[in-house]
Symmetry: C2
Subunit: 180 residues, 2 copies
């Protein structure tokens, strides 16, 4: 798990980006911001910050924050419980996000995977700026990185069950931020 100091810094920075995007969270919501380091203790390079508005068996909505240059590692949402798996729509609210999905490889991508690049396979680039959105089908590998000023991304989706996510890198621990 990331040190408390860097977790605090990542959380503070993410809340700044949310506020700059004009998005109001309550104090309780701010205190509950999810800071995910995926088990790498290196939030500057790998991680994501999440506020979940609602997550029911029918739909889910979140705000995702990528710090500048911070990568959310490659993963997919496979079928479970008789559903096709989580389908999600990313809507960029502020900053810029570089999203990579399965599909025709972009010849000169804007960014490269971080360390452990052998665990990144999706190479079709979709760069999103405010007002732009993209829907990722279920069971489709994807990863994404915040641009130079980070990114705030609204995620609209079917039900989210984090523990069902499959990461390409077996070293990823999606739930490392949760105390049991």
């Amino acid at each position: 798990m990331a040190t408390n100091a860097s977790r605090e810094e990542a959380g503070r920075h993410a809340l700044e980006l949310i506020e700059e995007a004009g998005i109001v969270l309550t104090d309780e919501e701010k205190a509950g911001l999810e800071i995910v380091d995926f088990g790498f203790d290196d939030l500057v390079r790998v991680g994501t910050q999440i506020h979940t508005y609602v997550n029911t068996d029918r739909y889910c909505a979140k705000e995702l924050v990528q710090l500048p240059g911070q990568t959310c590692p490659e993963h997919r949402h496979p079928p479970f419980d008789g559903t096709p798996g989580k389908r999600e729509t990313f809507r960029c609210r502020a900053g810029k996000v570089y999203l990579y999905v399965e599909g025709e490889e972009t010849e000169e991508p804007a960014v490269s995977p971080p360390e452990r690049e052998e665990h990144y396979t999706a190479g079709h680039e979709v760069a999103l700026e405010p007002g732009e959105q993209y829907t990722i089908p279920p069971d489709t590998n994807h990863w994404f990185r915040g641009g130079p000023e980070g990114a705030v991304i609204s995620e609209f989706s079917s039900r989210s069950v984090d523990e069902k996510d499959v990461f390409t890198d077996p070293a990823v621990d999606r739930l490392s931020n949760i105390d049991y």
Copy 2:
């Protein structure tokens, strides 16, 4: 259908409120803003403005705009096609919205129904300001009105099928803004 002049005015005002809330829409999205007068040709008092980000068989996300004092008439989302009916979460982004749902009647509600008040039955008041949200269960009567400065409301929900909505007032024409 509302006159073109008042439709244009309602659309312009709604887009201003969206922009003031820090929400970026593309020019194409702005041009496609849905302006609903419910068949009353009186958008100052009755209507709603809607931008739909995504609407699939699994989830839906919209931005709703209520102009100052503008009411969306009472309706519910009944079961259809084997589903329990649309369930929706309102998240206030800017301004203030007075939402009335089925339940214990609020003794001194902030606002009263508009004309044709006999077609308003839900009297449990939920006032939402930025950062506050409320989930309306399926098949539950509700109506809502923008506060003095209007309101921008993110709606996260299951699939939206407007023609399945049931309005308490039989005179309502939900699809009056659509040309066939």
